[in-house]
Symmetry: C2
Subunit: 278 residues, 2 copies
């Protein structure tokens, strides 16, 4: 969609959310679509699909430090609409965000669901991917690899905890708290390594990550996968040293001047695929 | 989605657009989804699909007298994405509205496209469906049945004018101009009769329409179909007598106190299906 940006108001189009000044406020707008079988597992509870659809959009707002004002949801009707509505109700209640409207359609084929989240910035300038500067520290705001474990539990029916995959929890309060202090921020939706490389590229810097520090945030023995799997919706940020004294974040690296590679893990470019690409 | 309205901010949820006060401004938000084969004809040019996707959302803003601020578009990738992008570019340029962002996804099945349009109200209170009062006149702002003719031309390959079906033109300027004067307003998307009955129900009144007046706005010999076909995206409004002296609208009826029927055509309830229902 980038090629179509027709306005300077579309600052941050490279980001997961659009930023739009309006009167005395700054709007933050995001839209994500989920496709049956692509972003969901066969037979997954539609209540969980609805929760996740909303949660991933709220997570985009969290990464902007934005406060959600409302949602528009597009729903393709099926046999299990009451479960979808149930999940919508649960996530809207949990995050105190009103469903303002949307659309329902019928389709014979694969179903898809869309959500637009509308938020207001709590801090201007709104954090983007492009503000990381050499000398900043790199922070991660929670565990990775939990969605991977949840996905496996659901897929294999092991009875393990599926919640991180099925009902991710956007870090709205933490994003709000971090926004004034960070230089760049995004949520880890496609994998820590690929998302870190996106901050590096957008900021014109190199991110140097420390696998020992990351290992403390990942399931034992699954570090390599956990760094590439995504769907965890924790926050990845750059900012001044010492933020861990004030916020529940862990330092996982340092921002360097741009070298040959945008991303280094213990001094070398990470091997293989970095994460999920659309 | 109605059952889920969780906030009084969702005023006008029965409407095609949500109204959300924010600081000194009032946002108007709308989302519509189009499904391949449901809202499009097989083999239709994706550039026209993109145009229509945006235009129907802008038409919802027009009915609120809102000025468009930007769009978020969700696109399912296919073999013909360049044509879709071409149509997006054309409609964004035509209506000077920036594409702020959105999402692209892949799906093996039937494709669907979503658009969220964000606007700012130019007049508060924002016109809704529920303000029609006994004694008001009923107005129509343009021709009906043109999309019907365009659809037939495209389907049958007659070489006739397809533009009203393929590239509808939202009446943004007229909606803006009418907003301070009307008591209720909506766009004719599902058919004049069904849309008129929606204003009547939302307002708790009866709309009495005059088929002779409507006939002057419809293709000769196709009046009954034209009143039920929709897709024309002209504006239907109620308001004080005499608006036709100041605006390009035609009086087509009168608002009565609520009688036994919400809608009368020449004194009797219209026969058969009133229009397209989702």
């Amino acid at each position: 969609m980038k090629a179509l940006a027709t306005s300077p108001a579309a600052r941050g189009l490279e980001d997961d959310a659009a930023v739009l000044p309006l009167g005395s406020e700054t709007l933050v707008l995001t839209h994500d679509t989920m496709v049956e079988g692509v972003h969901t597992l066969d037979g997954q509870d539609p209540a969980d699909v609805a929760w996740k659809l909303v949660a991933v959009n709220l997570s985009d707002l969290a990464a902007k430090g934005a406060e959600p004002l409302g949602l528009l949801v597009s729903h393709m009707l099926g046999d299990d609409d009451h479960r979808f509505i149930e999940g919508l109700r649960a996530v809207c209640t949990e995050y105190c965000v009103p469903l303002l409207g949307g659309d329902t359609v019928r389709s014979e084929g694969t179903r898809a669901w869309g959500c637009t989240a509308i938020g207001r910035a709590t801090h201007v300038p709104v954090p983007s991917r492009s503000g990381a500067r050499a000398g900043d520290a790199v922070y991660l705001s929670g565990l990775i690899g939990q969605a991977l474990l949840g996905f496996e539990a659901l897929r294999d029916g092991t009875g393990g905890d599926e919640s991180a995959y099925c009902r991710p929890r956007p870090q709205l309060e933490l994003g709000h708290a971090l926004a004034p202090s960070v230089t760049a921020m995004m949520d880890v939706s496609d994998g820590l390594l690929i998302d870190a490389s996106r901050i590096a590229r957008a900021s014109g810097v190199t991110l140097h990550l420390d696998s020992d520090a990351i290992a403390s945030m990942a399931p034992e023995g699954r570090l390599e996968e956990a760094m590439r799997w995504g769907d965890d919706y924790v926050l990845l940020a750059s900012g001044p040293e010492g933020l861990e004294a004030y916020h529940p974040v862990t330092r996982i690296g340092t921002v360097l001047a741009r070298g040959d590679e945008p991303l280094l893990l213990d001094g070398s470019p990470p091997e293989g695929k970095l994460g999920y690409t659309h």
